[in-house]
Symmetry: D2
Subunit: 482 residues, 4 copies
């Protein structure tokens, strides 16, 4: 397959950034020992020779190292971003320049463009589709499943999905694409789903969708839940956000965090990392929680557990980490201090009531700089500063998680793809959702210790027998919480 | 049942300490809101009226509040400690003085005395035994199971267990008790096991034994694994040890922790709490691990992950937290700095090679004060200071976990006992090991939030639907790691 | 001079504790490298041969190492404690047993006994008094100055100080001793002051008195302000209290600190150490301050700066560190939660309104254990737990600062005594207050680095010239704040 | 005076950035309460009406708020940056657009341009020069003093400074400017110095130069040492760097800091802030020191104190904070890990051996992006990544200290300028170096508490008398270290 923008083989913002991207890629490789070890272990045998992999995952420098790892193992790869703001244009360009993968991604896509890219990423000329999916948030999986659903209906009654039937702006795009494709090929998505060996998914949200589909018996191919590997969930969520939340806030606003009152909405893994970062920076940290266990954990770490609505006038910075919706409403923001900062590092932008803000009567909008907007309330002239338009602040305002964290997550992705591929002809994986075997989780961790000069102690045979674990692991029962 | 020491109804060190114990008990109640809530909720109905409960669990002030809670719910209670050093004599006296429970426990029992106490605690005059067991470490459960095993053998061939057949000092005691009892009643333990509705067990070690017995089909009654409730495992292990490790070291040695090099062997929950405490006190903390995931977590928190044998001469303080054996050997101690401190907060004293120390040729022993011993090596005259004779330093040298932590653990125990009792006639619990339902785990946490003025946020119906959880919980999937 | 209690040569509680004290002393020596280095450097020449040193300083194990250091340098030493509760009886006994010093000190002296001890400590048979004073809080210095004042008045009009003229309980004792002595020797204190080469004083309070006396022209001999050496003020106040505040609270109450709301009154060096310790233990920490600079520092470290009276019902633990009076009044305590803990680590017990508590109408007192008292308010039955009767909680409820910290403070004392003695015949020190030369302060620090394996970097000549400091120090200007 | 670039009235990069700069300026004002309070207090009286102020200080957004404050008080202002990389072009443009001040500054000046800008900033058409200087690093002061020196010599023997007489690239520029000016006006600098009421200087380096000049009797006008106000030195150095060091490293490299080994060279205030930030981010932190007191402080906070040369192969990140030269030499860098990061947050770029790097035989240079350069060693192909070409990493790679910190520093500057101006006709300030009175230092802090909702406690009269301080402050003796 060629890489020719004219022919629609890729679409990125600016190929002149490729050289800069390559330099950063080279540096990132040193920080991603897990992926480099995969290249060493599985590269020589070209395990993925002839395998088509489609990925929908923030098109960043770190993802570029993942893509090049998959390609190094022999795969053909097509890629798009899973967020309209998260593409690093120089990373996309570097990948295209190196002919490693087709890429359809740029920073600041419109929703229409976003779903066009997703569709392109799934389109393999002369093939039904990819052998495997790498997914983040589940949009690629969603498009296929919606396509299949529509094709079934179309086969029955020739009806097509109607974009006007939904108020959800994203689903309008999805329906449009599927509707328009039905004419050309009324079984395109069905064939694609059949050809698909499986998907590995890495977000809480995406995994939740998968479990719901599996429960409903609607999942069309096996799925590996990479999100719940310890080396993904704890590392990406806790350590990744601990790094990238302050990074995002500082790049966006340059605000002094020390001395400020910061509220972290949600004290799950993401919230734990965020709260730790803000406390470490000298802020006074408040926490909101619905779960009494997480709330008590917050207490034990010295955070004050409050209800958002009862502390609004005290707050300097609000961070949502819940994975739920309607956390900060425009009525809440109307009660904040002047120039209070509001941002989201959970998942979707509906944690913050963006629609409410945009339609608040008399509100004035001023873009300070890209991804940093000040909204001025008409009543008293106080403004709130919303980062990344309510989307993920670490991706929108900084560069996402650092390479070392992503190396953990992505090594899980690679091992999951290897699991799916090497066991595709066995009965191991049905159309269900699976977590990676713990021994692979431990392997991911082990591959990252050398870079940090950490030295593992080895169990003696007697000790292994005493605590009743295999000498080489896994060392913990499935329910162990770390 | 009377409470008359002459008649063997209790045995404690000194009843004159009862008043002091009562004062501390009154104060502890305020710090144990979970237990007090259980009294409020289940006390009026006398849920445990007529129920015999036998407990083997460190006889401390906090345990006294547990015992009085069980008694408040209507139970008859007999108690012993599960560790020869862990009894607080004033707590034991206060319980006996109040006639709340029979108690057989004092600080500094010999092994023979320890097992005598355990036997007394299981002995209910005119009854086959307790209805339920509260266990910590599994010694009560062990004694019953060994008894039943011996009685089966005795029924076959009249053979009796032979204390000389084992080099394990504890098993010698166990065999002696069982052997001596066979003459009096050759089916005592069998009847006791049959009468037993179940056991709730709260340690990793005890739970491990239970799972092994269940796996082998040898478990004689249902068991609830209280240890793996989040509000037990995380709170007791992390937050409890974070408090009580420095407490134990400071009371025992008065040593400045800041500036010292401390190694934490094992970075599980206990190790995490210990490492946090030592870092917080200004120490430089090294960590050893066998599990690459835990090792990588240690790295992410800034700890240096090393092998013990490679850093011995640098160390000021060694803390074992592994739950495994043979962690610090006498040959290791021979290479330490003068007056390096060695202590264990894992489980058994075999984490430290106490036998090796005691039998090292030419070594000299000097007791600085109770639970603080200096052993001088003959080669160069350097000494090591071993705390609590290698047993749990927080119990031996301080007063164990603080009341608030134990309130979490013990509220789990009470809810487990209630589960076992109220469902004893249903099929819910077989002779297997169960964890408490998550909704009860969340309840334990919720009962402790008020004391800390923490205010939970309530989900809206829409939000609960959005993330697909019941409005009132449980809020997390079973595999959630907190 | 003999050591015979009958003859009044010493008075301690229990000589049978001497052996235990000696063991602890041997261990403390290893933690006090500064003092041991002084022995190595100045011991062989017996620099203090024939020198009489009187000390008024908490008679603890660490002080015992100081005393033995002074004696090792050749001095004759007499000692008393500077606080009625702070003596460690086994330390006092060990010193007497070894005939290192005469000692007049025991835990729990009455005020009359306290001042009797102070008087004994200053009494050198056949001599006018000590050559030098080691003072802590300034009581020894006060007694001499009051004595001289009274003798002057007596010489004029034969009037004697009248204990009934003051409501201050301590001054009553001082006046009584002086009054009673005038008959025996009407110039005793005058001769003593004349014979005194100088005093080294180590507390903020004592130093403040000295500066006032010097300013008023009333100081009778040179004084070295050891308190303001960096290696005293920062180490003793910050690092010492960071260690010993949680130690005191835990030993006294066993209360869980994590999750609690702790207010630190005062954010000077002591407050900074205390706040850090409480935060590290998982508490939520509030701070009160009068000084805007210190208040802003508290903000920068994430503490909420509040006024005590506005947050009383939220508080679990109150710690006073101000060095001022009337910080927590009984009316404040009447508004606290049940079993809130109140303690002082500042200086005098007047930081807490003990008189107000003791005389509150209808209040009930219950001693939980020594140094832990619960006072129950009649209105609603809530109690507050006051530690160490309002005196220093780290000394009253634990063992004070750890040896390593005291080694810093006491090495300053030794170097100050050496300064005073070796320069007594020069004009260097007049009847003023002096701080130690910075090069000696740096020396104290340097003597403590080896124990911690810290390795200093050496300046090159070019670097020293570039920043314009001597190659061997001092490295900082006088006003440097560290 | 007009603002016409053609006429040389200002020179900035791009006036189109003015609007963006204004928006950031508006936001910064909210974070700079000290400066805004100065406007409220001194603005109405136009205290600086007719006063000419020349400033040489990083031309950032925060400085823009300072400039507008001076102008708000009535002053005419001319400005340049004190570092070739530190100008924020949008800040410069906003100031020019608003006609607040003439500005000569852009990011990435050459040395020749830098000194041209400095000269322009000092040039007041039709006037001998500024009434007062605001200086940072002392370059403006240096130029005037060198000018006067040259004019004196020129008056004697008509000799001119010779740029070829020095190998120092900066002094070449200084000499050239002075030489070229002598023809036009041989007493320009002499008249300027005479007209100058004083300078306020805010860096350690600049202050050091001033003290040297004062000591040598060469200082030509009074100087206020703003650097040693507590609200400057502690806040700017500790809290500022704690914020901006990780900000700079993350923006430049996106590297995961957690798990890495970071060495902080120097543990003064800057080093303390940097070490705290790196530790808080999860790094393992090593420290180097020459001063034993600072080294012992590092130990007490749990840092390992080492010598740089003994740990090179372990290091991931090196940060120099010493204010000295020759800290990291090229021979050291040759021994580092691949992609180790080297940066400086001390003062000059000579902390890192940039010349040695640039001239290392066979070394290869690759610019990753502006201010991020990789230097590859020929022996083994490992590279080091040097940030900001060895200059201040927080200014070169991020945006310097946050507004709130700079508000403290700059409020000191404003109060210093007010001191100089209002007392210019009194004898208060001679040609010496002065620190601000402590009461003003406390005032600066007080002006910043409201923004953080901190509430000061007020002393009662009795309490003030008890500790012998004025009711309204200052509250501490001059030598207090905070």
């Amino acid at each position: 397959m060629g890489f020719d923008e004219e022919k629609g083989y890729f679409k990125v913002r600016d190929m002149s950034q490729a050289e800069f991207g390559r330099k950063e890629l080279d540096i990132a490789e040193v920080e991603m020992p897990g992926l480099m070890s995969c290249r060493d272990e599985f590269g020589p045998s070209k395990l993925f020779k002839g395998v088509r992999i489609s990925g929908s995952l923030h098109m960043t420098i770190q993802t570029a190292v993942l893509i090049e790892t998959l390609e190094h193992l022999g795969a053909s790869v097509r890629w798009c971003s899973c967020n309209i703001f998260s593409t690093q244009d120089h990373a996309a360009a570097a990948i295209v320049k190196a002919r490693t993968s087709a890429v359809f991604a740029w920073k600041g896509e419109s929703l229409e463009e976003y779903w066009w890219c997703t569709n392109q990423m799934l389109t393999w000329e002369g093939q039904p589709g990819p052998h495997m999916l790498v997914d983040d948030g589940g949009d690629a999986t969603l498009l296929i499943h919606e396509g299949v659903k529509a094709e079934k209906q179309f086969a029955i009654d020739q009806s097509k999905p109607n974009p006007d039937s939904t108020s959800n702006a994203e689903m309008k795009c999805v329906f449009t694409i599927i509707r328009d494709g039905l004419a050309k090929d009324p079984t395109r998505w069905t064939k694609m789903a059949e050809a698909c060996v499986g998907v590995s998914e890495e977000t809480t949200t995406g995994v939740h969708r998968l479990y719901q589909m599996a429960k409903a018996g609607e999942l069309l191919f096996p799925a590996i839940n990479v999100n719940d590997s310890v080396t993904k969930s704890k590392f990406d969520n806790i350590y990744g956000c601990r790094h990238s939340l302050p990074d995002g806030i500082m790049r966006a606003t340059d605000v002094m965090i020390a001395g400020k009152v910061v509220i972290i909405c949600g004290f799950g893994d993401v919230g734990k990392g965020c709260a730790a970062a803000m406390k470490a920076a000298g802020a006074r940290v408040l926490v909101t929680e619905i779960d009494p266990i997480c709330a008590l954990q917050a207490c034990m770490d010295g955070y004050q557990v409050v209800r958002l609505k009862e502390v609004l006038p005290e707050l300097d910075i609000i961070v949502t980490t819940t994975g739920n919706k309607d956390i900060v409403m425009v009525a809440d923001m109307a009660k904040l201090k002047n120039n209070a900062i509001v941002c989201n590092i959970g998942h979707f932008d509906n944690e913050i009531d963006m629609l409410g803000v945009q339609t608040y009567p008399g509100i004035k909008h001023s873009q300070i700089k890209p991804q940093v907007d000040r909204w001025t309330f008409p009543e008293d002239g106080h403004g709130v500063i919303i980062l990344a338009e309510g989307r993920l602040v670490n991706l929108g305002c900084a560069t996402g998680h650092p390479s070392f964290v992503m190396s953990n997550s992505f090594t899980n992705q690679v091992l999951a793809q290897i699991e799916l591929w090497t066991k595709k002809d066995s009965d191991t994986y049905k159309n269900e959702v699976y977590v990676l075997p713990k021994i692979l989780d431990e392997k991911v961790a082990a591959l990252h210790l050398g870079k940090l000069n950490a030295k593992l102690t080895k169990l003696t045979k007697e000790q292994a027998a005493y605590i009743d674990v295999p000498l080489e692991g896994p060392y913990k029962p499935a329910h162990y919480r770390y």
